[in-house]
């Protein structure tokens, strides 16, 4: 694993609506190294997508407001980069793929030319050269180059997602932001796409921020994991550590909620209650109300991020494995 490529420091983002302020991301810090795949895991509304979009600076402002923080990419603060500078970075050094492959492609343009277009935008090369590279990209994601001039509707869901991935990787980005890239796919197709991503990761050495709610996908693909809850990272560790010894009660709860294939128990252990209203976050620990370990101080003060084992960070007063 190489040097730090992306470094987010104390990032806070709010959405200002008519009625209230939504505290979407609260003081998040995160490092992504060269060649590393990091999983951002959390439930709907935890703020995962907001983080990714803020890296690319594609959050709609208003309503979104970046309150504080810095995002260093290759040494430059993206939040201070000019819009012109960002245009050179987006799609070129940092690419993003979205959950729904159906809406990410222009339905009336040929698949190949869409990829070629993406390449041409950032490289001063001829049309023919761009198309040749686009063709290579398609073959790299396992689509025969002969389908270069077909339209998106002629592709199935899984193939469209491959095209989207090919398009994102076309300029050989250093960082790929993948927002639930396999959620809309069937399991057998998801398996194909995951396998392909494994392969690409090794061949291209791209760093990946993998946003997902599926711990199975994380276990499969990620080197390290950050668990996001109510706009905060509550636990961060290498994937092996995280799956071996989850320490934050929320992480433990997430694992408990999953139906285990090898378990014989007839009841799941869900986390009680719901995620707090992001317009009205509790003063103390965000997880306090749902936490089986909550004590007096949890409601009073928010815990700091602590290193409980080398490289294993937890934001909890009472971290540790399940008793």
């Amino acid at each position: 694993m190489g040097d730090v490529l992306l470094s987010i420091k104390n990032l806070s983002i709010e959405y200002h609506t008519d009625k209230a302020v939504v505290y979407a991301v609260n003081n998040i810090s995160l490092d992504v190294r060269h060649g590393e795949t990091i999983g951002l895991v959390g439930e709907t509304g935890a703020g995962k997508t907001t983080i990714a979009k803020s890296i690319l600076r594609v959050l709609p402002t208003p309503p979104a407001v970046v309150k504080s923080g810095e995002i260093f990419f290759d040494g430059d603060d993206l939040l201070k980069t000019s819009e012109h500078g960002m245009k050179k970075i987006r799609g070129n050094k940092i690419a993003m793929i979205f959950q729904d492959p159906m809406t990410a492609l222009n339905p009336i343009e040929r698949v190949g030319s869409q990829i070629a277009e993406a390449i041409k935008q950032h490289n001063k090369i001829s049309r023919a050269e761009a198309e040749r590279r686009a063709c290579d990209m398609l073959e790299m994601v396992g689509i025969p180059g002969g389908r270069f001039s077909e339209y998106p509707h002629q592709f199935s869901g899984g193939m469209k997602q491959r095209v989207v991935i090919a398009m994102a990787l076309a300029c050989k980005p250093e960082l790929l932001l993948a927002d639930e890239p396999t959620t809309a796919l069937d399991v057998t197709i998801q398996a194909q796409v995951l396998e392909m991503m494994h392969d690409l990761k090794e061949r291209l050495g791209t760093s990946v921020v993998m946003i997902t709610h599926d711990l199975g996908v994380v276990a499969d693909l990620c080197d390290s994991v950050a668990v996001v809850y109510a706009g905060e990272i509550v636990e961060q560790a290498s994937a092996d550590d995280m799956f071996e010894s989850p320490s934050h009660p929320y992480t433990i709860g997430l694992f408990g909620s999953l139906p285990q294939l090898d378990s014989t128990e007839r009841r799941l252990k869900p986390i009680k209650g719901l995620m707090p209203d992001p317009t009205n976050l509790p003063a103390g620990c965000r997880f306090c109300e749902r936490c089986p370990r909550a004590a007096g101080e949890c409601a009073q003060a928010a815990p700091e991020m602590r290193e409980t084992a080398p490289g294993h960070f937890v934001k909890c007063f009472y971290p540790g494995g399940e008793e």
Partner: protein, 315 residues
């Protein structure tokens, strides 16, 4: 346990521009009272259509349905009304399964209104009992669906399905749209309700880990046909059909240690329009050969374990 529902050679074809779409093609099964039948398969395999056909939300092309010992294939209007009070449905998408213009209590009360014969006060008190049963606080009585989260909406859907005290509920991907922690709450609720009320479920889903959890028997569907059916544990322990094997191996397991080798299928699900008579999985099957061009018989390889693959015992 007595058999509650029996399906014999159910077929549902849709006419499309390109020919006949075989959505459900010759499905037979029996379901005992109080049990859960899991139906798994990928999108487009006909699993949702199967549920809708059983509920007469879609007209059957051919086949027979026997419900609680009586023929329920072609009910007249009166029989249909009686039948629907005993068979209900819970939908996948808690965002589209509730009328956005109806409040929580209105939505749950609707079944009572349609059946009639209850005073308004009775309906309201029954509604409140139902809300308590499924765990929606009374203060949400007058809320509208868009003000609630997915988990609560799904609870409303469950309450509405329970209102007429059915025996049989088709659950069409009821937890697929929910977050894991909420998903677990809803699954536990459904298990509790089954125990308390002796409900019989048909649980349609693409999520194999969930289906194992809740089902007694699991049916694997591929392109409108049943390719394998077995008790849940048996299917997971020893899948026989190559499609079931691939499907099970494709589940991403939240575990870093004992990761299985995935069986990667090439290609994607083929078209269910005018399928050829042979095995429909053939195009993607790693073991396909000449004999797969014949129609595949469903054989009982071990007691209660059915598989539709001519080569299951040679692999």
């Amino acid at each position: 346990m007595p058999v509650l529902l029996e399906a014999r050679d159910l077929k549902k074809y849709f006419k499309t521009g390109g020919g006949m779409l075989h959505a459900v093609d010759g499905i037979s099964f029996t379901l005992e009272r109080g049990k859960t039948l899991g139906v798994v398969g990928e999108s487009g395999c006909g699993k949702s259509t199967l549920g809708r056909v059983l509920l007469h939300l879609l007209e059957l092309t051919s086949g027979e349905i026997i419900f609680d010992g009586a023929d329920a294939t072609n009910p007249d209007k009166q029989e249909l009304h009686a039948l629907r009070e005993r068979m209900q449905v819970i939908f996948q998408d808690p965002f589209s399964s509730l009328n956005p213009r109806m409040s929580v209590s209105e939505a749950i009360m609707e079944p009572f209104k349609r059946r009639g014969g209850m005073t308004k006060a009775d309906m309201l008190s029954e509604t409140r009992i139902l809300m308590e049963t499924v765990g929606i606080a009374a203060r949400f009585e007058n809320s509208y669906p868009h003000e609630l989260d997915g988990g609560r909406r799904q609870r409303i859907g469950i309450a509405r399905a329970l209102a007429l005290k059915p025996d049989f509920i088709v659950c069409d991907e009821p937890v697929s749209a929910l977050d894991v922690s909420i998903q677990a709450q809803i699954i536990n609720l459904m298990l509790d309700l089954q125990e308390e009320r002796g409900l019989t479920y048909m649980f349609v889903t693409h999520d194999l880990s969930v289906v194992k959890y809740i089902s007694d028997d699991i049916m694997v569907m591929y392109l409108g046909q049943m390719v394998e059916k077995a008790p849940a544990n048996e299917l997971f322990r020893d899948p026989k059909h190559p499609y079931s094997k691939a499907l099970l191996s494709a589940i991403p397991v939240p575990n870093r240690k004992n990761r299985k080798k995935r069986i990667l299928l090439t290609g994607e699900i083929t078209s269910p329009v005018n399928p050829k008579p042979g095995c429909r999985f053939m195009a993607r099957c790693p073991n396909a050969s000449e004999e797969c061009n014949r129609p595949q018989e469903l054989v009982e390889c071990t007691p209660e374990h059915f598989v539709a693959c001519c080569k299951y015992d040679t692999l």
